[in-house]
Amino acid sequence: MTTPSAYTLADFVTTVRDELGLPLADEQVAADFDDLPEWDSLHLLKLVTAVEQATGHPVPVGRVLEARSLKEIYDLAVPA
């Protein structure tokens, strides 16, 4: 099983691209969702499931819903 620490931000960006089909540039990971026109809150359905499978840990869904960028979601899913 993958350990949480092994799941890097780069892995997360790959998950976003592969699972959601979002053409995310590396520098866009910290962009506010308002500056990410392709982003749709519905994407969280697949993203949460994919990240949980990758890390083996539950994602705090309530707090993720308040996140304003993908980086914030990563930080919540994979605490430092």
Binding site: L20, G21, D40, S41, L42, H43, L44, L45, K46, V48, T49, E52, P58, V59, V61, G62, L65
Partner: protein, 341 residues
């Protein structure tokens, strides 16, 4: 505004198929996160006419509508022989022909009555109410049935591989449900004795992209790889609350009612979470919110009847209620006002 002659709602009946399906059930079936459904969608249970694990159709739309309609007639002070027309609003008819409303009439044991079916999304129940009210107000009919129902599970196929399904596809499984509702309308107060003070039904979609599309497939295109049910969730999230507020104030203006006079508010029923947000934005603190979607799922044209059923349990003489509905397919504003005599 006073609309004459007055039309009354005598009773309602509703039907939810089978047992409630929980988020845990759905999360297991979809491989999705249960908490996400709970928090993001805010809908706890729904009912399906189709057994999602076997695909078996347990009830047709006509079955559900006929049960709801029969219950509405029983709950009124009328006999079946008094029913002079049937109007059905639905987005998911059993067949394109015959229109499902005719099977409903048949199951009820009605014959020799005019029937109407309105092809419509979330505004269909209000459109049925609007047409039923107009028919009675014309003086040609004294009482009739208005019915709304949907079987959304027709588009929910758990047998196919959902691992590659788009989020907009997956969300349909957790948003929707099946059900039906009906009301008996009369030209004089009877039964519940609720006056239908006003009905709003207006297309506002000129030049606007649809927020929701349900495809239908025939022999020539049934193998197309099109998603049967698509929603522009982002557009719906942005526009429905704005439209709901506009509808509220338009209805109040038409009725010459103030917001303070409202005892109950029936907001649009999209999902538990979106309905909560919309109710906050409607901001009528003095009115009791009447919602059902968190327990019933979004079962389209059944929703207003399920709300009225809950309303009638509480509403006392002289109290006023306002319902707001938005059909995001091609952006229809809808709503109605009720007052208990």
């Amino acid at each position: 505004m006073t609309d004459n002659p007055q039309v009354y709602l005598a009773s309602v009946g509703t039907e939810l198929p089978g047992e409630a399906v929980t988020n845990a059930d759905l999360a297991r079936a979809l491989g999705a996160n249960e908490e996400w459904i709970e928090v993001f969608i805010g809908t706890r249970t729904r009912h399906f006419a189709r057994d999602l694990t076997t695909g078996e159709v347990r009830w047709s739309l006509a079955d559900l509508c006929a049960r709801a309609a029969a219950e509405a007639v029983r709950a009124s002070e009328l006999d079946l022989a008094d029913i002079e027309f049937v109007v059905l609003g639905t987005a998911t008819p059993d067949t394109l022909m015959p229109a499902t409303v005719n099977h409903v009439a048949d199951q009820l044991g009605l014959d020799q009555v005019p029937t109407f079916q309105l092809q419509s999304g979330c505004a269909g129940a209000v459109q049925a109410l609007s047409l039923g009210r107009t028919l009675i107000a014309s003086g040609e009919y004294r009482s009739g049935l208005v019915v709304g129902g949907d079987v959304c599970s027709k588009h929910l196929d758990l047998q196919r591989d959902l691992t590659k399904a788009a989020p907009s596809d997956l969300v349909n499984f957790v948003l929707f449900g099946d059900g039906a509702g009906a009301a008996v309308l009369t030209d004089e107060p009877s039964g519940a004795g609720v006056a239908v003070r006003h009905v709003l039904n207006r297309f506002t979609g000129l030049g606007r992209e649809p927020g929701q599309v349900i495809e239908w497939f025939g022999l020539a295109d049934r193998h197309d790889d099109r998603q049967a049910l698509t929603e522009d969730y982002k557009a719906i999230e942005e526009q429905v609350p704005v439209m709901a507020v506009e509808i509220l104030w338009e209805l109040l203006g038409d009725l010459d009612w103030s917001a303070d006079e409202l005892d109950y508010l029936l907001p649009p029923q999209l999902s538990g979470r979106m309905t909560r947000k919309i109710a906050e934005q409607l901001d009528v603190p003095g009115a009791t919110e009447i919602s059902c979607v968190a327990e019933t799922g979004n079962n389209g044209n059944a929703l207003p009847f399920l709300q009225i059923e809950r309303l009638l349990e509480k509403m006392t003489a002289g109290q006023k209620a306002l319902a707001v509905a938005v059909e995001s397919s091609k952006w229809i504003k809808a709503g109605f006002a009720l007052e208990r005599i």
